[in-house]
Symmetry: C2
Subunit: 200 residues, 2 copies
């Protein structure tokens, strides 16, 4: 089975795969998750539906894979030696235009997961949990360095604070999150809640 | 005009008004904002569409009024003498079941406002801005009492933190926000970010 999967996969080049994910994201932005069909993906990318199903298994898997492909891990290659440095570096990885696009995508998905248990499972397993695990590693390093007390109760809420800022910006101010906004939120809220000075 | 409006309004008793708002919220939960029609509201409440339009002006106004009617102002009658007391009292006003219903409603509306400029305007003017103003009053009292430094940068982000926790709970944990969760979030995140001890 594993070998067969490898052979099958090898038919699609990384370039072709990236192209396909881009088309899925475009469709997602245009029509939203519920109205997105595998037929439309097949037509847009000139692939057969059979190939799509064989390669990805189904719509939730394909959509989450496409989203994951479009954004790097939050802390890939980041290790600056301070928590503030790491969080700021995380913000530097995405420009404001990408951030606005991501915010739109995530808004659509967040809505869709409530009506699609399969999407919810994929979304949690492939996006939410890996990102939370990366956050936890960065926080653990800060604890190990003595920047954060291991029993600080805010440690369990860092992803809530971050996702919250990301979402609330749109909800409260009807503006997309920007790098400047999130960086100042990190300094004003996240670091002080963790007992870390924002001036280091 | 004002007198005519008063005469018209007086035809609807507060009980009838409450009943009507309840029906709007039920419909909103069942079909969502976009699929909700004034015809359906009229049928469900046995009113004429003309009455609905005359009384409320339109769908965005009616929906936002219904939502606003269902939840008290966040700090109505609350003034405990400490910020922590005020924020905790705010949480006591809503039970977990109502909170879950509110979260669902707000999720639907947050999605809908992005495609409906009229709804967005009503939503901001009648719900978001009044709630933020109430939060600001509570925070100003804490500044006046000397609990928070007037130049604390987290002061501008308190509603972001709160809305964020509310929304992120569903997104990250796929669980509705509960009173216990939000109260512990206040103690772990909001108060420390504001430089207020959570032990007072």
């Amino acid at each position: 089975m594993a070998e067969a999967a490898t052979v099958r996969r090898s038919r699609i080049t990384p370039e072709r795969e990236a192209e396909l994910y881009e088309a899925v994201l475009d469709l997602l932005r245009e029509v939203g998750y519920d109205a997105l069909t595998m037929d439309a993906v097949a037509a847009r990318t000139r692939s057969s539906k059979a190939t799509l199903y064989r390669q990805w298994g189904g719509k939730p898997e394909l959509v989450v894979k496409a989203v994951r492909h479009s954004k790097p891990g939050p802390f890939e290659g980041v290790d600056t030696g301070t928590l503030r440095g790491d969080l700021h570096a995380h913000m530097e990885q995405t420009d404001d235009c990408e951030m606005e696009q991501n915010a739109g995508l995530m808004r659509g998905l967040a809505m869709a997961v409530h009506n699609n248990p399969d999407l919810l499972r994929e979304f949690r397993e492939k996006l939410v949990e890996p990102e939370m695990a990366e956050f936890d590693r960065v926080l653990q390093r800060a604890v190990d360095r003595g920047e954060i007390r291991a029993d600080n109760p805010a440690l369990g809420y860092v992803t809530h604070m971050m996702v919250g800022a990301f979402v609330a910006r749109g909800l409260i101010e009807d503006r997309p999150p920007t790098r400047a906004f999130l960086t100042s939120y990190i300094d004003a809220v996240v670091l002080p809640a963790l007992g870390v000075s924002a001036n280091r």
